[in-house]
Amino acid sequence: MENEAGALSRVAGLFSARGYNIESLSVAPTEDPTLSRMTIVTVGSDEVVEQVTKQLNKLIEVVKIIDLNDGSHIERELMLVKVRATGSADREEIKRLTEIFRGCIIDVTDKSYTIELTGTSSKLDAFLEAVERSAVLETVRTGASGIGRGEWTLKV
């Protein structure tokens, strides 16, 4: 979509006005600074998703829209999670878990670790399941970003 002020609110407004679900939404400018790319995760029947697509297409600032589920695609989400880490046993356990999930610890205090984790949304969920619930102090997630597999590209 055009990288213009207010474009994001048109998309968000459309979802609320028409009663569509919005699971997550991530947006940032692309390599072409006049364009932004947005990944929206929504839930609905085929008919609803068809309507969502058509209605989004009607927004003047939307340049192109694809349903990534139409082909095979890759999606990734970034999560930062702050966990309580006191005592050497706990600290070791969390380090091990972080390694298993291919995350990295990016900030350390004597009582906490902050872990960076990337993956599909379900992998991030799985990590949170694996960590003892009471140890999780804070999480922040970006929502999924998606891209099609192979050489095909979404270009304007």
Binding site: M1, E2, A5, G6, S9, R10, G13, A17, E47, E50, Q51, K54, Q55, N57, K58, I60, E61, V62, V63, V156
Partner: protein
């Protein structure tokens, strides 16, 4: 050209470049520079309304009756919030319109300044698009885009919000000949293969039906719709927004369909085997309960410029995205080239069935009543104006009777708020219609409840000598509300009674117009004739009508098309 112009001058110059002759508005702090420029020129005429809602409705009526883009100018804050009802009305009916609004200066935006609202935010869900112009260099091209977006594709209102300081700054003026936008490329031509498939299906029909909506009017395709219908000898029904798309006095017209549609139109819609939907969107007031609609098997062809209108409420078999005019032309060409014809025997049987439904005479009413029947007033209005008037309406029972009893043979003659259902629309819209058609006969069919929602415009009519004929069907009730309360709420008429009504005759007179009160059925025709004789005067005709009259047929909410309540 090296002369620098102010933003205000540029705004007016852009309107001139677009060929705008008439705009509707109301001045205020944030648009004073623009009004100053309006004052200094005489190409663009400004009509001063008495409330911003009326400015938008008037621009809307102007657009609907003339096929030009309607233009309105309002100030920031309350100017905009008053305009919102009008903008939403135009949006729901896909009317091409450009609204220019003033905004507080850019350095005051967001600081809760006097008369500040988030105009772009408030209007976002009810415009096709909107812009806030923060940079004077963007002003001309933004206005160009606004006209382009408003008038192409599925039309709609576009708002341009101009901060006061931008209207003061200067820049070299250049108006682009055209704009292209990578993110906005409306389709016009339909897919040839789809049109071919549609033609084949049409030729195979045994019980065909053409269902035509407002898209036919908007794309100026009434002649093509008529040609198609007559070429095939198919029955045709028009939606509330589509009236005039096919001549209503013709035998092949089944009248309006839907909640208050005719028996024959609704039955034919339900029991046809091939349905050709043209510029219509199967909305809730048209097909009633979609589940019930699919109790019967039929194949559906759907022509619409807006892909999101297709398969929204009803799954269709052959969607054709494109401008109704282009698609119909191509479809007619294909059908004419084809050697085949639909099964004439089956078609004859189908017409026989339709004529049986017609015999039900679903629009009958008591013609010998001692009290004025509202239907009678409309019929007489049709006779007196020889079916050639521009009719606007407000919203309620009178609107449905107007749609049922005034037989529109031409497009752009019937101007009403179909989608949003805005009471107060009728008179201001009629002002716009009269300004677009100075020689036309313009009547506003209204009720005593609706008319009071924009009654202040009688003053505007006086100022610009607009000789409207106001047909007030005065039943001392919010008639449609009362009807629903009678049918579905145990006759409990909660707040639907209009107490303490004004003396409309005196009211009209106090604004400098002519008022008439008509209480006897025998006086209806004479009063209407007298009113239309007064070519230069607004005449307010207050018809005291039957309080208990209801609109029939009626498909109750949630019911199917063949489940009508009949007289």
């Amino acid at each position: 050209m090296s002369v620098e112009l102010t933003g205000a001058e540029i705004t007016i110059r852009c309107l001139q470049e677009e060929g705008v002759q008439c705009i509707f508005g109301y001045p205020g702090g944030a648009v004073l520079f623009i009004y100053d420029e309006l004052f200094k020129q005489d190409k663009v005429r400004h009509i001063l309304v008495r409330h911003e809602q009326a400015a938008i409705h008037a621009a809307d009526g102007y657009a609907r009756s003339s096929n030009h883009v309607g233009v309105a100018l309002v100030t920031s804050g309350p100017g905009v919030t008053n305009a919102v009802t009008g903008i939403a009305t135009a949006y729901m009916d896909s009317i091409p319109m450009v609204v220019i609004s003033g905004q507080v200066p850019t350095n005051a935006i967001g600081l809760d300044a006097f008369q500040e609202v988030d105009t772009v935010g408030i209007t976002r869900p009810c415009v096709k698009h909107n812009f806030l112009v923060k940079d004077i260099n963007e002003l001309a091209v933004t206005i160009k885009k606004a006209f382009y977006i408003a008038s192409t594709g599925r039309p709609g209102p576009v708002l341009v919000d101009i901060p006061k300081d931008v209207s003061q700054q200067k820049v070299k003026f250049e108006y682009p000949d055209k704009v292209s936008m990578r993110s906005y490329n409306p389709v016009t031509k339909g897919h040839t293969r789809q049109i071919r498939k549609a033609a084949e299906l049409i030729l195979s029909a045994k019980r065909p039906m053409i269902y035509a909506g407002g898209g036919v009017i908007l794309s100026n395709a009434a002649p093509q719709l008529t040609e198609l219908t007559q070429l095939l000898n198919f029955p045709c029904t028009n939606t509330l927004m589509g009236l005039g798309g096919y001549p209503a006095t013709d035998r092949q017209s089944l009248g309006m369909l839907g909640m208050h549609g005719t028996y024959e139109a609704n039955m034919a819609m339900q029991y046809c085997d091939v349905l050709v939907a043209v510029g219509a969107r199967f909305d809730d007031r048209v097909i009633g309960n979609p589940k019930h609609f699919f109790n019967e098997n039929r194949k559906i062809i759907h022509i619409d410029i807006d892909p999101s209108s297709i398969s929204k409420r009803v799954k269709v078999d052959i969607p054709i995205v494109g401008d109704v005019l282009d698609v119909l032309k191509e479809l007619i060409k294909l059908l004419k080239e084809s050697k085949e014809k639909p099964d004439q025997g089956a078609l004859k049987e189908w017409w026989k069935q339709i004529d049986l439904w017609r015999e039900r005479d679903c629009l009958k009413f008591d013609r010998d009543s001692k009290i004025i029947k509202p239907q009678r007033v409309i019929e007489t209005l049709f006779d007196v104006t020889k079916g050639d008037a521009f009719i606007t309406s407000d919203v309620g029972q009178h609107q449905m009777w107007a749609a049922q009893f005034y037989k529109f043979d031409k497009p752009r003659r019937w101007i009403n708020s179909g989608g949003l259902g805005t009471m107060g629309f009728g008179m201001p819209a009629a002002m716009g219609v009269q300004l677009a058609n100075p020689k036309g006969k313009v009547a506003c069919i209204t009720g005593e409840a609706s008319i009071q929602m924009c009654i202040q415009e009688l003053s505007t009519c006086k100022q610009y000598k607009l000789p409207l004929k106001i047909i007030n069907l005065n039943n001392r009730y919010m008639g449609m509300v009362r009807q629903w309360q009678e049918f579905f709420h145990g006759n409990r008429y909660a707040e639907s009674y209009m107490n303490a009504l004004p003396d409309f005759v005196k009211l009209a007179e106090s604004y400098g117009h002519v008022g008439m009160k008509i209480e006897q059925p025998g006086d209806v025709e004479g009063a209407l004739k007298e009113a239309f004789k007064r070519k230069d005067q607004l005449v307010f005709l207050d018809f005291i009508t039957d309080q208990t009259e209801n609109v029939f047929p009626m498909v109750p909410g949630g019911k199917g098309l063949s489940e009508m309540i009949l007289v």
